[in-house]
Subunit: 353 residues, 4 copies
């Protein structure tokens, strides 16, 4: 399949995840963007919606109204970049027509519909599709993703948190009952809706906490981290809004089970867990990651600090929330689902500065 | 004393704390800036060094070389805005000449010279002066500050952390052995030295952690928090660099001693502890602070979140690192030392947006 | 009048000009904010709308629905910070009730209703009030402002442009038919309405031109500059959007009438024109202004560059668009209208950095 | 030649142009970075110097001291990213050893050594090499670049200005004696040297003009624009510093020779001049460019505004100063010199947001 072009569709191009998908698909070597939909922008070309796409073939594509038959006709695989709730029914229609789907919303991430209903405040009507859905974190589930028809693309914060904690939990290095995740995200994570709190003058040169202890990404993290730990766990997850376009930095506070855990042993556990996963970069001892080193890329940069004074193992995990935390990861999942190399179209170096 | 002008001096005007002192002194109702020194800028007027001061009387002041006799002659009270190490000897000279000193460096903050020597890597030669120095946090030590000749102005991170934790520790609401302080600071906290890491293009649109578990402000916090708690404690203090000019937001993770601690009870403890301290603003339930609300002011904005799921009391404490965390606090201390109202010259509303 | 408090009202507190008026009035020595209205925020206290006002007396004021009788009852002078069109009728009602009005909208700036109707696309129904209105630029019209009941507060771009050009045009130094104004403004100038183009991620780390040759502030500049020049003139005025909160920098390209005009002569003309106007700061030769030096203040910083190579006199004029370009200037005008010193409540140094 | 790898070298990796070359070469399909030099960083790997390059083959390359023999041995073509003055002699040594050179400094841009000496304040010792050097603007000189051994890579401002003015001047649409270029650049254009004026807190949330009428890029523009116009001309070129990482927007004020020049005719002249040059994007009527649409790319986005009121044709030209204005253009030139497609390795869409 990798030698021919795969026809892909994009439902919901107006938001930042849709914009980022368009950016990445504009130069993907094996995906050809064949259909783009948006109720809001229908009738315009992609280059009219996003002037930075002028001069690319995708820029000439005309945005259409969403229609399951037309999408199924034109595309082999469809990315859903619409709000949770809306994704659910479109996904069902496309799956019923035999198409592959990567859903960037939260609709198929939580395996327990009761948890979904509690945190998202709406009914989940598609337990069947949910049963088939694979959680699209390639480092953990590459084989299952490759065989899936429906991939639930992880949330941005969960991607940073799970990759940061996976080796420590899987190898039982830390106490699963004492985890604090202090996460900071760029403004694109808040979406492209024109709301007061996302205005430049409300964010620039400032910083604030939000959703402390109550962010919707919490149950998603707990589901995956519990699976890794082999038993249920609860985390203290807390979000902050950075005055940057892109990027998440999560500072994760944990307590080693063995107070004598050496920095070298911790580092070795991570190095071996991620040995075959080039998108995860373990930083050399003494280095701490920064958001910009992942800008526009799939990298997750991780550093470990063993703080003997306070008896803690601190894990710092950094990603680009739009690329690794959403659209880039969606393309990586689509790559796997189509038999392409994981990194196809995702090989750029970060844009620094 | 409040009806006449107090002549004040400023040693070290080149850095951001010196700049902020100049900004505040330019319009202070009772302090008249009588001498400004800097080896680097000597010979220029303040308005040449800082064009934003053109048009103010202080702008016409000529920067001179530091000289203890001249300073003691011209000034009743002197602010030291020079690096640690340098402050120590100047302070001694001025105290010997009967002048009052507010030192913005770390030289007189740590009561135990062994701790100073360990964290700052240099000998402390002034144990006598140190014994007299008062730690300049007005909410805790106003009376002693009013009587002091030498005030050690607190560090920016300690100011945010101590004010955030004071009621909870003083009233024994939390476990003193399980405190994580995740702090984020604007770039002015790194000083005005022209170093690569402070360049615009190295910081803008990015974010990074630094000095995890090893920041020099840690022993200062532990000293004061231990005094409040009534016994020695260790904190996990961790710093991050925000792409903003000013501001610190500290997210403080604690565990209530009583798992059933109600949000209302926690809030009430803080409200009563700070009832007579108008610079500390307890936010209404459901509100979280943001850095900009303190921009250019002495306010410390605090919110409490009782997270029952994870069994934590989360405290968010916000200040302006340059004003409350350095120069504004220095002026508040000088106000007290001169019998002026605490808030003299410090009454502005935050510059928002 | 200056010894007693003047009761003032604020109609329209939701936008950035309303926010800035609230910030300045919170600490004004002679104005007491007695009524604040907003359809959108009615029922909340000012501190709920603007948390940075917690702790100030104005923060406890409850926002009410706009009502002319109530406003006239409670206030001696009212600031109108509502969109053009809306201001017109409220102003008439308040003037009819004998109250003084400072209107921050464009409704009373253009003396020719036909020009207003052409550029603003709506009828002007209050030719009578318009005839009484005084254009509120204190450097030009202080005496008339002091006697006025209705002041039309200037637009932000016109304030920067007119102050930049006034001495050169008044003294016939430049060709009035060859003026290019290349102006750059911070995002607060675009208002606080939640629109896509003002979102953080649409503005941050970017820059763009807008309304080239067609900005609504053009006729206002031309009206005032023509009056200064003594004959009609047309300017090329062009706007750009800076990723900053506040500030306008206008680079103004002119051609000296006398090709041999010396830099010193040009500078002298400006110095004498502004000798009695402390809010205008002429920078020393060789210095160029920066936006931050005016942040939060009434200053207009001006530099002149005589470029012999290209035969041009370049004028750089900088203000804070929210303070000098809107709300601070409104307060200066109100000061004059109430017999207070021009600078009452407006004496702060710029917040730098 | 295009089927095999070309070995390239990079002299001077410490600055932003060196960093940007490293970023682009990390994923170039036909260039293999074989040697990197820097006096300052010698001995470290590229990934140690630039952590964002960890995980790329180039990241493992060890930075060495500059040595002409070693460079000539290891490389077919060498990029010089060192300051003017330093580039001159290295270039000569490499040319003498038969290597191709793309020089990113100003040393070979000005054909008249007297002009170089006047504006750069140093002697030019290599008139011979200068005579061979080709000015590396592909839209104008692609054929000559393809045949050159030494390419003088254009300055960032000249790239934006020349591309903006080329069709208008070449087709005699405008008066060559009345051109004002008001240019605004991101901070990376000021280099990576740790100087006070480039610190985050000196630039963030501010904006300023600099080098009005006296910027060193002026003679370079005038040289090329004069060549296009067919006779000597002088421009008024003026620079401003934007608080953004990358990007230049130049607003160019011109006067049409024919006052009746229609917008359509102007647009048509540009469209046909750039018909075969895909890196130049003429924006549709009514659109104005923004910096972010070119971020990380080779695009030059141009819009035309015919302002009949003021009798001006306004040209807005936007590039990324680091990519199109320096390192990306250097790679495009190297592509041509090596028989590769102009756009090899330069095909990405802009990173937006």
């Amino acid at each position: 399949m990798s030698s021919t072009l795969v026809r892909v569709g994009l439902v919901g191009v107006t938001g930042y995840t849709g914009m980022e998908l368009a950016r990445l698909l504009a130069v993907h070597p094996s995906f050809r963007l064949a259909a783009v939909t948006s109720r809001q922008e229908a009738g315009q070309t992609l280059a009219e919606v996003y002037p930075f796409l002028q001069g690319f073939a995708v820029g000439d594509l005309v945005v259409s109204l969403p229609d399951a038959d037309a999408l199924a006709d034109a595309c082999d695989l469809i990315f859903l970049a619409v709000p949770h709730g809306a994704a659910m029914s479109i996904a069902a229609e496309l799956l019923a027509r035999g198409r592959k789907v990567v859903d960037l919303s939260a609709d198929f991430r939580l395996r327990d519909t009761a948890v979904y209903e509690k945190w998202y405040g709406r009914e989940h009507s598609l337990a069947d599709a949910l049963a088939e859905a694979v959680y699209g974190l390639p480092e953990l589930y590459a084989d299952r993703i490759a065989a899936a028809s429906l991939v639930a693309n992880p949330g941005c914060y969960p991607t940073a948190a799970i990759l940061g904690l996976y080796p420590a939990l899987a190898r039982k290095l830390i106490d699963p009952d004492d985890i604090v995740i202090d996460a900071k995200s760029g403004v694109s994570g808040a979406g492209r809706g024109p709301v007061l709190g996302s205005l430049f003058c409300e964010v620039q040169d400032s910083f604030r906490a939000y959703s402390l202890g109550s962010h919707r990404h919490t149950p998603e993290m707990e589901q995956e981290l519990s699976a890794i730990a082999g038993r249920p766990l609860v985390v203290s997850f807390n979000a902050h809004l950075l005055p940057v376009n892109r990027g998440i930095l999560a500072t994760i506070y944990t307590k080693p089970k063995d107070p004598g855990l050496s920095p070298a042993a911790a580092r070795e556990a991570y190095a071996s867990a991620y040995a075959d996963h080039p998108f995860v970069r373990m930083l050399p001892a003494g280095r701490l990651p920064e958001i910009r080193s992942t800008r526009g890329t799939m990298f997750c940069d991780i550093a470990l600090v063993a703080d003997a004074r306070s008896g803690r193992l601190i894990i710092v995990s950094v990603i680009d929330n739009l690329c690794r935390g959403a659209s880039g990861q969606a393309i990586a999942n689509a790559n796997l689902m189509c038999g392409l190399p994981l990194a196809a179209g995702l090989g750029q170096a970060a844009l620094v500065p």
